[in-house]
């Protein structure tokens, strides 16, 4: 595998072996999960896990908190749904189109956002996400309050029908796993190294000659692209694109997932997504109580697990995950 940076002379802390084992564990979990739980529920966890990882590409490595990340997730779910339903795209092209839409949108918005810092950055990303929400509500092809329903899952490459949940699961699992490996590679690339330098000390990174704004923009576009992939997968899987996925509450929820899991870790957001989705599922019967419990969990995390669940556990064990 090309994905396990070995321990270099820099002694990159606890990288190779423990991370390879974590990837094997993840692979095992993804492989057995649909036999232990309802496949569509697992698919939901995988989609949101990928979405949370995409947010953390920017938050964890660059320290930039996007409060409008649902824009790319939601817009791409519309893009995939529209492409599959109206244009009759096969799933792989629908997903490709979803990513393209997210990347282009991210490129434009990112160029306008990355010059802002801290809370201003968060607010500008939120403002753009609200524009996307309004667009999604008003545009003729998004179905307004109804969304786009009965999206056909289609057949992969026109050959393999995704009608059965297990076939669909196989596709989602493969796409998810490859995307996680890609995100991991980006995080531990020479590029990722520069991102962490910018996060640690931006003026110093500038004084070393790094064109900081371009790095921020690039990671913004990458993060949007992966969020778009997650949104596209979700639309194809659940045969639905709706306003929920572009709403600002969704942007907040994905921040919650990352914080619960641990933003200083690579794998943490997956745990966060699992926990939030599982909670929503378990507590669905209690209606509005879901949000109250979510709030309590979030508060508990802030108080007890400052670095998130995985971040705190890794700290205790002296691991870097």
């Amino acid at each position: 595998m090309t994905t396990q940076p070995e321990i270099t002379a820099a002694g990159l802390p606890g990288m190779s072996a423990s991370h390879r084992n974590l990837f094997l564990l993840l692979l095992a979990i993804v492989a057995v999960a649909p036999f232990l739980a309802y496949p569509l529920l697992v698919i939901k966890v995988l989609c949101f896990g990928l979405f949370a990882l995409s947010l953390n590409l920017m938050l964890g490595n660059l320290g930039l908190l996007s409060f409008g990340h649902a824009a790319y997730f939601g817009l791409s779910s519309y893009a995939a749904a529209h492409a599959a339903k109206v244009w009759g795209f096969t799933p792989e092209f629908a997903l490709g189109f979803a990513v393209l839409v997210a990347v282009v949108t991210g490129a434009v918005f990112g160029a306008l956002c990355v010059r802002r810092q801290g809370i201003y950055f968060a607010m500008v990303t939120l403002a753009f996400a609200q524009m996307i929400y309004f667009f999604s509500l008003q545009a003729p092809f998004t179905g307004g309050e109804d969304g786009i329903q009965n999206v056909p899952r289609g057949a992969l490459f026109g050959l393999f029908s995704l009608q059965s949940d297990m076939a669909l699961y196989a596709l989602v699992a493969v796409v998810f796993f490859v995307a996680v490996l890609a995100l991991y590679r980006i995080t531990w690339s020479p590029f990722g190294q520069v991102l962490r330098a910018i996060r640690d000390n931006e003026p110093r990174a500038i004084s070393l000659g790094y064109r900081v704004d371009r790095y921020k923009w690039t990671v913004f576009v990458l993060a949007a692209g992966f969020a778009g992939l997650a949104g596209g997968l979700k639309a194809i899987s659940f045969q639905l694109a709706s306003l929920t996925d572009v709403y600002w509450g969704m942007s907040g929820e994905v921040v919650l997932m990352v914080m619960i899991g641990g933003m200083a870790t690579f794998f943490g957001p997956l745990i966060g997504a699992l926990l939030v989705i599982w909670m929503q599922n378990e507590l669905a019967a209690f209606g509005a109580w879901v949000t109250i419990v979510q709030g309590l969990v979030f508060m508990a995390c802030i108080l007890v697990f400052r670095k998130g669940l995985l971040g705190t556990i890794a700290d205790r064990l002296g691991l870097k995950v």
Partner: protein, 252 residues
Amino acid sequence: MSDDIVLKATGLTKDFKGFRAVDAVNLNVQRGSVHALIGPNGAGKSTCFNLLTKFLTPSAGTITYDGRDITRLKPEVIARMGLVRSFQISAVFGSMTALENVRIALQRRRHGDSWDFWRSQKVLARLEDEAMDLLDQVGMTGFAREQASDLSYGRKRALEIATTLALDPKVLLLDEPMAGMTQEDVARITTLIARVAVGRTVLMVEHNLSVVATLCDRITVLARGAILAEGSYDEVSKDPQVINAYIGVPNG
């Protein structure tokens, strides 16, 4: 020889909402010299420094570097031209090891920009021998694998110098390199700066006058945003205006 000016500021002026922090400063830094910018608190040294390093944009005046007008250039661009600054508060990348700190600078110099997000950072391993050499130059070999945020203040400054040297700068701009240092650290870093200044030009803002006396060939004294005196340490230290500005009373 006096016409070999590497960094030149002409009529450099900076206004902050009606307050003129730097007022028509003309500064000539000779190639190969160690030049100090000194002055009492509020004299405009730091503003002047930030103008020269492009972290602030001048209200008026021009800056040339090696005969090229850099007045409108961005800080990262002049860094790439060999004009590299340090910071008053030690500027290290806290979450990285000392070695990685130096390596990130080497990475910029050797690879230019790193857009290669699809590659493993294993490719950076080949920079590590050079990074170790640089750490060795500042006496930090034993701390290569320590996380930068855990280093003592003096070691952070030494690490910062190693990181700056990794870019092989033509002109080093040091913003109060001795600020907040213990006595032993001051001696160590003074020796270090003297060593790295060979073959380079250094411009520093510094409060510690004994350091300035030891290191610097030429001193510019600023007071209230304008140049008060310029010359060697002996010359400016005898200047009654300088004494007045520092102590407040003319001293025969």
